[in-house]
């Protein structure tokens, strides 16, 4: 759980940095996408690795939840937790919703199934026009809203997951614990702001379609 979670967090951060290219304009984003796809077999190896990580993360999570449910067959009539957080108690729910989002997200931007009308254009350099696809997609408040909601849940998931992994791996200590809790929340918040800034910038008109730039 901890190891796969940490590696997946690495992807979340790398993916965010790539996405932020959108603020550099259509040329930067499209050439980033062009070079990423140019990696060919390397890219597919990375994608396969990610798929394996996600599957391992899900398998261990399902195992964990099933074992934990079995460990208390008769529930409390009254149960008042005092120390745990909302994020910690909703890890399974936030995980399932984020998974559903990932499936939609891949169909949307990677396989370009959900919005075929705006997803197959080329830019003036002959590169795939990712910029146009992103900006026109997020122009729809439902797509943008769903994206921001999924990011909020992802970051809720991370705010518990990040500090939790240090405890599970035995890297935690009394002195480190409060700092880790703070870093975990800050990291989750930064990732949330980073990802959400893109649909919000499109909706608020800071990032415009390429035709409207000049």
């Amino acid at each position: 759980m901890a190891v796969t979670g940490l590696l997946l967090l690495g992807f979340v951060i790398a993916h965010l940095l790539g996405n932020l290219c959108v603020f550099g304009g259509p040329d930067l984003l499209n050439s980033y996408a062009y070079h990423l796809e140019g990696l060919g077999p390397l890219l597919w190896a990375a994608r396969l690795g990610l798929l394996i990580l996600v599957l391992l993360h899900i398998t261990t999570a399902v195992q964990l939840v099933l074992e934990n449910r079995k460990a208390r067959p008769v529930p409390y009539q009254r149960y008042k937790p005092v120390e745990t957080t909302y994020a910690a108690r909703t890890m399974a729910a936030s995980g399932v919703i984020v998974l559903a989002f990932i499936v939609y997200h891949l169909l949307h931007f990677t396989f370009r199934v959900t919005h075929p009308d705006i997803s197959h254009g080329l830019d003036p350099h002959g590169h795939r026009d990712v910029y146009r696809m992103v900006v026109l997609s997020f122009g729809d408040p439902r797509v943008a809203g769903g994206y921001v909601f999924a990011m909020a849940l992802l970051c809720l998931h991370l705010s518990h997951g990040f500090k939790s992994l240090f405890q599970s791996m035995g890297w935690n200590s009394i002195r480190l614990e409060p700092k880790l809790a703070g870093i975990s929340r800050l990291l989750a918040l930064l990732i949330f702001i980073g990802y959400s800034s893109i649909p919000l910038a499109v909706l608020l008109g800071f990032v415009k379609p390429a035709g409207a730039l000049s």
Binding site: A71, Y76, E83, A88, M91, G170
Partner: protein
């Protein structure tokens, strides 16, 4: 003071239990929670009813026998307090109080509020000891132990094995108990010799006893009457990782 109690009544392990309502009138607020239950039981016996079974022994907070979940919290609302040391003045007159046993598959109910905690004994039997030659003890000062280490080991050794950590955990995990036992021995030079074998055996026995897994909610630390820190869980995880890597070599 007058109270309304909702108490879990269960005849034995095979029958289903249920909450039963009792009125506890004229309770002295200076009584401990267990003394209040004694009074309730005396009245039940006078009426010819079956008294409520609950575990208790020393009644001074050091034996770990008492084990009641009060209003959804093991050992009740006060931090660092066993039920026997919890006094009725912490409750309001007329309050409704829900009293349940520890709830975990690993702790089956024997009767009413009494659960079997032999799973803990089996964990201890699998490694919670130091194998030493018996005979005359050597002078205590021949083995020097730093104050910090001694204090830390003592913090872990404060565990009375009551099981509140399991009862409080959303997953009914026994990690805090096992971590306390593993750490207090691993910190001492006498216990270090067997520390790898110990952590492997105790963790594996715990896994086989139907406890849940730790997902780092830290409810155990909040419920522990001895306020044992989840830091020991991190320490045990570290030791377990080292030991299992060494084992494969």
């Amino acid at each position: 003071m007058n109270l309304v109690l909702h108490v879990w009544r269960q005849k034995n392990n095979s029958e289903k239990g249920k909450m039963v309502r009792y009125e506890a009138q004229d309770i002295n607020p200076h009584m401990s929670f267990l003394e209040m239950l004694d009074v309730v039981n005396e009245r039940l016996i006078q009426k010819g009813e079956d008294p409520v079974a609950f575990d208790h022994d020393c009644r001074e907070g050091i034996c770990g026998a008492c084990s009641l979940t009060i209003n959804g919290r093991p050992h009740g609302p006060e931090r660092g307090t066993t039920v026997c040391q919890l006094h009725m003045r912490h409750f309001k007159d007329g309050e409704e109080i829900y009293i349940e046993p520890w709830r975990a598959k690993a702790f089956p109910v024997i009767k009413d509020l009494v659960v079997a905690r032999q799973a803990f004994d089996r964990i201890i039997q699998s490694g919670g000891f130091v194998s030493v030659k018996t005979g005359s003890a050597q002078d205590a000062n021949t083995i020097l132990i730093g104050k910090d280490t001694a204090d830390k080991a003592m913090d872990a050794a404060a565990c009375i094995g009551c099981g509140a950590c399991v009862a409080a955990c959303p997953n009914a995990s026994a990690m805090l108990f096992v971590a306390a036992k593993v750490s207090h021995l691993a910190l001492m030079p006498q216990g270090q010799v067997e520390k790898q074998k110990r952590v492997l055996n105790m963790v594996r026995t715990m896994d086989n006893e139907n406890f849940g897994n730790c997902t780092n909610h830290y409810e155990c630390e909040a419920a522990c009457p001895k306020e044992i820190s989840v830091d020991f869980i991190a320490q045990m995880n570290r030791e377990y990782l080292h030991a299992s890597i060494n084992e494969k070599r």
